[in-house]
């Protein structure tokens, strides 16, 4: 598969450094993994087209660290993950819960450098 290394620019998240977490090939399309960076649990997703997203692994509705185990899909074209606990759907791009916009999970910058996935946790 051809993919271009990318970075999700976020003005409000200032990455002070990049932490390598796994090989790009470790990520299955439309399936998440969880990375432990410092004390933060970060859910990483690779979409069908090969784009990468990183959001907090913590499900604000159940309190459990499970979002990386949710089903990845799209809603009106926007990439999403559904909590495996009670199926609330979050935008992977913004972290906002599309079923209840009062809830959101943090998003993190993510990129691929020389085949390695790196996340920026400020």
């Amino acid at each position: 598969m051809v993919f271009s290394p990318m970075r999700i620019p976020r003005e409000d998240v200032r990455a002070t450094g990049w932490t390598p977490v796994c090989a790009y090939a470790d990520l299955l399309p439309e399936r998440g993994v969880c990375a432990l960076v410092g004390r933060s649990q970060i859910a990483l997703f690779r979409t069908f087209e090969g784009r990468l997203f990183a959001v907090g692994n913590h499900d604000p509705f159940s309190g459990a660290q499970v979002l990386s185990r949710g089903i990845v899909g799209t809603r009106a074209g926007e990439p999403t993950v559904a909590s495996p606990m009670h199926k609330q759907v979050f935008s992977l791009a913004t972290g906002v819960c599309m079923d209840d916009p009062s809830a959101a999970v943090p998003t993190y910058p993510v990129r691929v450098a020389h085949g390695t996935v790196e996340v920026g946790v400020g």
């Binding site: 993994v33 990845v72 495996p84």
Partner: protein
């Protein structure tokens, strides 16, 4: 503008809520006599069953000033002020009296003794609960709706309970004598003593001065340490008279159609208001009064029309309903003494116009026929009672669907059309219909169906098809991947609804291990980890124990595995053992131990066959007529791993005593002297349903072939997450019988072949996972720290086992 509301109950709460919701900009002050904010009095009994005050309390809209424990003692209409018992003076521009009513205590000697109560407020219930702790028996004076609720509460508190009703039968305001007799049978069957036509002579005290019993007019004494009076209510109109407002001869503050008293600045709503000579005690009309008054305060012209006193309720598990008139020129009655059902319709002398009805035991006619009161009946009265479920055709537009909130069918239809509503939740939010007592929800569903809303079977935004249609597409065109299916027949990249459906279809048709290739990304977390996720993100593991039969050695292995991995163990309802608290990285290690000991996956995580329960059968049981365990084991091994629209449960009983509870299963088998009876479509859970007899006295070979076809036909044609019970009702038992037993669609050979392929291709999913290094790599908590367990998971101990430490949700959301 300053609006002051006197009283804080459900009606008062609805009034300020309506004002707030409609953008009222003035000041709202509520003066409540009780020490707590308004709560749902209709659900009062649930408080004793454990619901909290907070749960029952209505939210108070922002900006409303609430003064609790503040009893109003006088109204000064000249200066437009009210005064409270503690001397507070509150000026008003508009005053709303929502003072409700108080229980009527008949003047019987001893009625003031310690141990006598009324049943109205949370304080009353607290006092009753306290007194009941030291009591063994109780009596309720009054056999009406509230009296029976109170009796149910006493029963729930563990008291031997009696009901004493002056009238000739129970609930005389809701049912006629015949219905009362049937109701009495239900109540007595629950162990309550019922005394009708019984006056109260006196309440007598014991040596301690507290209540010891109730003496009836006929001299008989009913022992009781707790007496609850529930002999009707009286409107709280005591503020009106001294203020010069008109009060009815039998109480109640007189109001016009706009809920105004003689003073245009003063309204009265709810149980204290007397409208057109009538007092209302039901929540529905009272809430309507609140909305009318709110509209008038906002300058509108709403009017309160004489309200429909229809009632439908469930008391101690018995449905009771009454609608329209309680007499008529003609009546038609249906009674079933075995199941305790009594249904009566009152009709005009030409038997064409419905005047009213009474139901006890089964209130289906209430839902279907109440909107026809005063109109031409949609059929012959007798047939309507027998086929109440179907008599829903063509409700007129102006028929009232929700009597609690006075919503017509026309309004519901308009909301569906204009706001594009697609479900009952939307109708509730948009029209308030169905939000109070909920009895009209079945009617709302039918209106949705009539409006063609259910005609859209689209699974989700990605597929226009129903599950059954997708199944056929996949089967006929030989589709093997989600990507191909969504590219050719759908849109986007799927979601948590359609992906597991497609995963299930692909698995039903046999496409290898459910974690192979792209299929892995379609699975819900349970299927993806071949285990059941629990509330703290850990998983539970259920090995298959076919038929519930297990050797001592294997039992020991399960115990050792649980002990070594620190798992919580629990015996399931399906005769298996569930091991809780496993982290993802522990799962393969646990499976390895189990698989090595001869266990395999029990598919507790899948929409698949779960378990085939059995009784011990003829091998051991002196009553058994067939080998139930042997059959259960062979059925479980035959259908294990078969993915279906929802979970499938089964059971085999070795005789008609039915110890395996087979009639509560999707397919259940009961042994007969001559073979096996097959029952289908049973269900426990949210909507219990007894299974229907599908075929009788089958040989084992006939039985297996019949189940093969039944299950495969279900797998092909059911909707997503539709259990066999709902599917069977949708398809019709006769239709399914014809397809399965007579091959009316000519597909049986195909169904047989499909099942043979499933049986031949079965492989244990756990073994396949632990033998495949690629799959194993996914079972880690952290991709960058495979050896690290998730630090957020913690356990504490309870009853010598682990339990998850949970983070309080309030903390989680903030």
């Amino acid at each position: 503008m300053r609006v002051v509301v006197v009283g804080h109950g459900p009606t008062s709460s609805r009034l300020v809520e309506t004002l707030a919701a409609r953008g009222f900009e003035g000041r709202m002050t509520v003066l409540g006599e009780e020490p707590r904010a308004a709560y749902d009095r209709v659900a009062l009994t649930s408080y004793l069953a454990g619901r909290s005050v907070e749960d029952l309390t209505y939210p108070v809209p922002e900006g409303v000033v609430l003064r609790l424990g503040s009893r109003v003692t006088g109204i000064d209409r000249e200066s437009r002020e009210v005064t409270t018992a503690d001397g507070h003076v509150e000026p008003y521009d508009v005053l709303v009296l929502a003072t409700g009513s108080s229980p009527f205590v008949p003047p019987v000697p001893g009625g003031e003794l310690e141990g006598c109560f009324v049943y109205r407020t949370i304080d009353d219930l607290d006092a009753i609960r306290e007194a009941s702790a030291a009591a063994t028996s109780g009596v309720v004076v009054g056999g009406g709706l509230l009296g029976l609720e109170a009796a149910d509460a006493l029963r729930g508190l563990g008291l031997t309970t009696h009901v004493v009703e002056m009238g000739g039968w129970l609930m005389p305001r809701q049912v006629d004598e015949g219905g009362g007799a049937v109701l009495r049978g239900h109540i007595e069957a629950l162990g309550l003593g019922v005394h009708t036509g019984a006056g109260v002579k006196e309440i007598v005290a014991g040596p301690d001065g507290r209540v010891a019993g109730l003496v009836k007019a006929d001299g008989e004494t009913v022992e009781a340490q707790v007496v609850v009076f529930s002999a009707g209510v009286r409107p709280r109109d005591e503020l009106a008279g001294p203020a010069g407002l008109e009060v009815g001869a039998r109480g109640g503050i007189a109001v016009d159609d706009g809920m105004r008293t003689g003073d245009p600045a003063i309204y009265a709503v709810g149980e204290c208001a007397l409208h057109d000579g009538t007092l209302y005690g039901l929540v529905g009309p009272c809430l309507t009064m609140a909305e009318v008054a709110a509209d008038r305060i906002l300058g509108g012209g709403a009017v309160f029309a004489r309200a429909d006193p229809s009632t439908k309720l469930k008391l101690m598990g018995v449905e009771v309903a009454q609608f329209g008139a309680m007499d008529g020129a003609l009546d038609v009655t249906f009674t079933d003494p075995v199941s305790g059902v009594y249904q009566k319709l009152f009709v005009s002398d030409d038997a064409r116009t419905l005047l009213g009805g009474v139901c006890v035991g089964d209130a289906t006619p209430y839902d279907t026929l109440r909107p026809f009161v005063g109109r031409d009946l949609p059929g012959v009265p007798g047939e309507l009672l027998f086929s109440a479920g179907q008599a829903n055709a063509d409700l007129p537009e102006d028929a009232q669907v929700c009597s609690c909130n006075n919503v017509t069918k026309g309004r519901v239809c308009a909301a569906i059309a204009e706001d594009g509503l697609t479900d009952v939740a939307g109708i509730k939010a948009g029209t308030r219909a169905g939000t109070a007592c909920g009895s009209c929800v079945p009617t709302l569903r039918r209106i949705l169906a009539e409006a063609g809303v259910e005609a859209s079977k689209a699974l989700c935004e990605h597929f226009e098809h129903s599950r059954a249609e997708l199944f056929d597409i996949v089967r006929v065109r030989g589709v093997t991947t989600f990507s191909q299916l969504v590219a050719e027949h759908g849109a986007g990249r799927g979601c948590e609804v359609c992906k597991p459906v497609v995963a299930s279809i692909l698995a039903s048709l046999g496409n290898g291990h459910i974690l192979d290739g792209e299929q892995a990304a379609l699975q819900d977390t349970n299927d993806h980890f071949l285990a059941n996720i629990q509330r703290n993100g850990t998983y539970s593991v259920v090995p298959r124990i076919p038929g519930g039969e297990i050797t001592p050695d294997r039992l020991i292995v399960i115990g050792e595995v649980a002990r070594d991995f620190g798992l919580y163990t629990k015996i399931t309802g399906g005769q298996r053992i569930d091991l809780f608290g496993a982290r993802v990285e522990q799962l393969p290690l646990i499976w390895k131990r189990l698989v090595d000991a001869g266990f395999e996956s029990g598919h507790a995580y899948g929409k698949a066959l779960r378990t085939v329960k059995s009784c011990v059968g003829s091998t051991w049981c002196r009553y058994g007529v067939q080998d139930a365990v042997g059959l259960a084991v062979s059925l479980e091994l035959r259908y294990r791993g078969l993915r279906s629209p929802h979970k499938l449960k089964s059971a085999v009983s070795g005789c008609a005593r039915e110890c395996a509870e087979a009639r509560g299963k999707d397919f259940g088998v009961i042994a007969t002297e001559r073979g096996w009876n097959l029952y289908v479509g049973g269900n426990g859970g949210f909507t219990p349903r007894h299974a229907d007899l599908f075929a009788a006295d089958l040989s084992t070979e006939e039985l297996v072939r019949t189940i093969d076809r039944f299950v495969m036909f279900y797998v092909r044609t059911a909707d997503r997450l539709q259990r066999t019970s709902a599917w069977l009702e949708q398809q019709g038992l006769d239709h399914v019988r014809k397809v399965v037993l007579e091959d009316s669609l000519g597909i049986c050979a195909d169904l047989d072949a499909q099942m043979e392929r499933h049986v031949a291709a079965y492989a244990d999913e756990w073994r396949a996972a632990i033998e495949d290094p690629e799959k194993l790599r996914r079972f880690v908590s952290f991709v960058n720290a495979p050896a690290t367990p998730d630090p957020s998971i913690a356990f504490e101990r309870e009853r010598d086992q682990v339990k998850p430490v949970l983070i309080p949700l309030e903390a989680v959301r903030s």
